[in-house]
Amino acid sequence: MTPIPAFDPLGLPAPIWFLLALKVFGFWVHLIFMGLWFAGFVVGLLLLPSNGSLRLAGQRLLKRIPVIIAFGVNAGIVPLLFLQVLYPQFFYTSTVLQAWYWFSVIVLIIFAYYGTYYYVHNAEREERKRVATLIGWLSALIFLFLGIVFASEMQLMVTPDRWSDFFRHTIGGAVLGNRLAFDGIDLQRYVMVFGLSLSTVAAFFVFDRHLLNGSSEVQPEELRTLVLGLTFLGLVIFGAGAVPYLRHLQPYLKGIGLWKFLAGVGPFLALLGGVLYAIQPATSTAWLLVIFQALSLLFNAITRQIVQVRELAQHVDLSSLPLHIQLSPILLFLITFVVGVIVTLWLLRMYRTAST
């Protein structure tokens, strides 16, 4: 039996609900962006050999990947920050136990990120096209691999009973960190996120075409099959992960039928959006798909959080932890956040004027 570290003696700096709300919010925003490089990069590359609107839609997505990564990585900081506040004893331990893989995330992201820039700047230069495509695929594959590391980490974190397997590989009790915890359940989690991401990519295509003043050369009539296909495939892949994963989660799902239902219905909502768009590809149906997909991701983020709290409740009772509320730093953050949103909107308005 491996030990679980004690919670930090400094206690929680804010009420649990507040920390959880910020964590879920950050994860939701991260999920939106992350889906676009996780599944979107591959989808975009696969669309390149096609003709007409599909190729153009793929190119437009690929061109935006560097910016999407920047904001997605940035948004990913938020859930990780509050995860460390709420569950440091689980998070840190599970990262140390597979340390080299966790550490490799940073190195690989740098390679994949620069690879993405290289691809975007060179994909249309005839003399560098082949190398750029190769680097683009490598970057996309790295992002797919990073998903495996994250799925492994998040699952190992909530299953301390598995820690002893990793603690066998030590030198004088110091962990070697050269094993990755990826197993069947991690694969299910991974597959679920990939399915959700495919629907996010579909939502991006309609968002770009109809709501972001995308290129009018992208014909909605051609786009609709792609959108329908992606939302359908997204649902199937999500289901392939979710069905066995739900069986595993059964003990933690009691009494949260509504959230379980909403998380499960999310990809169906996205598919409904895809079907409506396929029937009538217009701005109104584009909005519907975007909203449905955003809700689907939100439901999943909330349900995942509820399940995480329940999985770890057998090891720690959050409500029993000492609470030392840092009121003025919280206010500083909230004020900065509001100011940040206002300044961002102001900048975006300037950008819109400049673009048009």
Partner: protein, 447 residues
């Protein structure tokens, strides 16, 4: 005491921190200095109606954005990643003390991204007023980000009243906070100025633009170096006494930092007021940039290494023992307190533990030398491994070679007598096993 320790052969896991942190610190200071200089430069270009200077600044922006948004951002997260892997207990303390400081910094980083991409993608399309406004947001958000992070990093070496109060502002507004902000702001300006010298000496550029950039960059570099000197002296007066002792003990690195700063000061001052553009040749500017960077790295080294024996001054020792915990751990013994080495030994040597899970020292004589060495190694990894390796970086063999085991045991007993060392919190039998192991390992007797 609470977390598993990650073994990295040869260098030790904590040495991964500077590998990620030093490039990040350099790049993030570029982001700040570059942000400020871009804003000032764009203002100047519009004020003087100089499209050539503006075009030069555009080239610069591409570099800054690619470097800071990609490398800077990821290595910034990487520091956090790495410190959590090599020193989770310290990271947890910092997170629980300053999470809303970090959250606030996150907001400024979002603004930095939004404005950086605006400059990158819309440079030609923004009207002059909007262009300057976006550059101002970039500069301000990058600088505020520096201020917020400096509060936390300065805290680690000079925690002020925080260990007693545990209040956010007591920690954030610590004695070295303001001096560090001044020094870092100066460092950001100076480094960027030095980079500009190097940049204009390496690229093809119209002579009049080169002249203009050189003079303009020089002034800001001089101001930057001036701020470093001012902030450095202020910092020296503000740091706790234990750091003064260490500076006196290790003059080489301090001298290097001072020499680098002075050399940069003299060179930039000279170039600013008497220099000619012909002097800005690549070998000289690259050398200047390297000297400036070396000074910067030395400064970071001073801040980081002179903090020992603490990771958080007055609160947490580098061996993950809270300052308030020392006597209690000594009373119970290190291996009876540190959870993971204890779990390791319980799994391998269950006969050593009572039913209550307490290590029974009366069973120790039954162990073979190899088993005793194994226990000694566990003590070494968890008590010493945070800073030392056996024969690699900061090798313990180098410290004990030629000494007598009894002498080493006596030194370990009063380890805190050495200004950089935390107290040894084991009992005398743990000390004995540790020293036995070290000498056996040095002779090649154990793996």
């Amino acid at each position: 005491m609470e977390y598993p320790f990650w073994y990295v052969p040869g260098i030790g896991s904590p040495m991964l921190i500077p590998m990620v942190a030093l490039p990040h610190v350099l790049v993030s200071h570029f982001a700040v200095g570059g942000g400020i200089l871009l804003w000032l430069g764009i203002r100047k270009a519009y004020r003087e109606n100089d499209p050539d200077f503006l075009a030069y600044l555009r080239r610069l922006t591409r570099f800054f954005v690619l470097l800071t948004v990609v490398f800077g951002a990821i290595t910034g997260v990487g520091i956090w990643w790495t410190i959590a892997l090599s020193s989770p207990q310290t990271t947890s303390s910092l997170i629980h003390a300053f999470v809303f400081g970090w959250a606030t910094e996150w907001v400024t980083f979002v603004l930095e991204l939004v404005s950086a991409f605006g400059l990158y993608y819309l440079w030609d399309r923004l009207n002059p007023k909007a262009h300057q406004a976006v550059a101002l947001v970039y500069a301000l958000s990058a600088w505020i980000s520096l201020v917020l992070i400096t509060g936390i990093t300065a805290f680690m070496a000079s925690s002020g009243k925080w260990p007693q109060t545990h209040l956010f502002w007591d920690g954030f507004l610590n004695p070295t906070f303001l001096p560090s902000v001044v020094t870092r702001t100066g460092g950001a300006l100076a480094l960027t100025g030095l980079y500009l010298y190097m940049h204009i000496s390496l690229i093809k550029i119209a002579p009049e633009v080169k002249e203009k950039v050189a003079r303009w960059a020089s002034r800001w570099a001089v101001i930057g170096v001036g701020l470093i000197v001012l902030g450095g002296l202020w910092w020296y007066n503000a740091v706790p006494g234990y750091i003064h002792d260490k500076i006196a003990e290790r003059p080489t690195v301090v001298t290097l930092a001072i020499v680098a700063v002075l050399a940069t000061l003299v060179a930039t001052f000279f170039l600013a007021f008497w220099g000619k553009k012909e002097w800005l040749v690549a070998p000289l500017t690259v050398l200047l940039f390297l000297v400036g960077s070396a000074g910067f790295v030395a400064g970071e080294f001073i801040r980081e290494s002179f903090r020992k024996p603490y990771t958080i001054e007055g609160y947490l020792f580098s061996n993950n023992v809270y300052t308030t915990q020392v006597d209690a751990v000594r009373a119970r013994g290190f291996l009876n307190t540190a959870k993971w080495p204890k779990a390791y030994l319980q799994a391998r040597y269950p006969q050593l533990f009572t039913i209550e899970g307490v290590l029974d020292t009366t069973q120790l004589p039954s162990l073979t030398p190899q088993q005793r060495a194994d226990i000694g190694r566990a003590i070494f990894e968890y008590h010493c491994g945070v800073c030392h390796t056996l024969s690699g970086y900061n090798a313990i063999f180098d410290q004990i070679r030629g000494s007598d085991p009894d002498l080493i045991q006596a030194i370990v007993e009063d380890l805190e007598d050495h200004p950089a060392m935390p107290p040894f919190v084991g009992q005398s039998w743990e000390n004995q096993l540790l020293v036995e192991y070290l000498f056996q390992a040095m002779k090649g007797g154990v793996q």
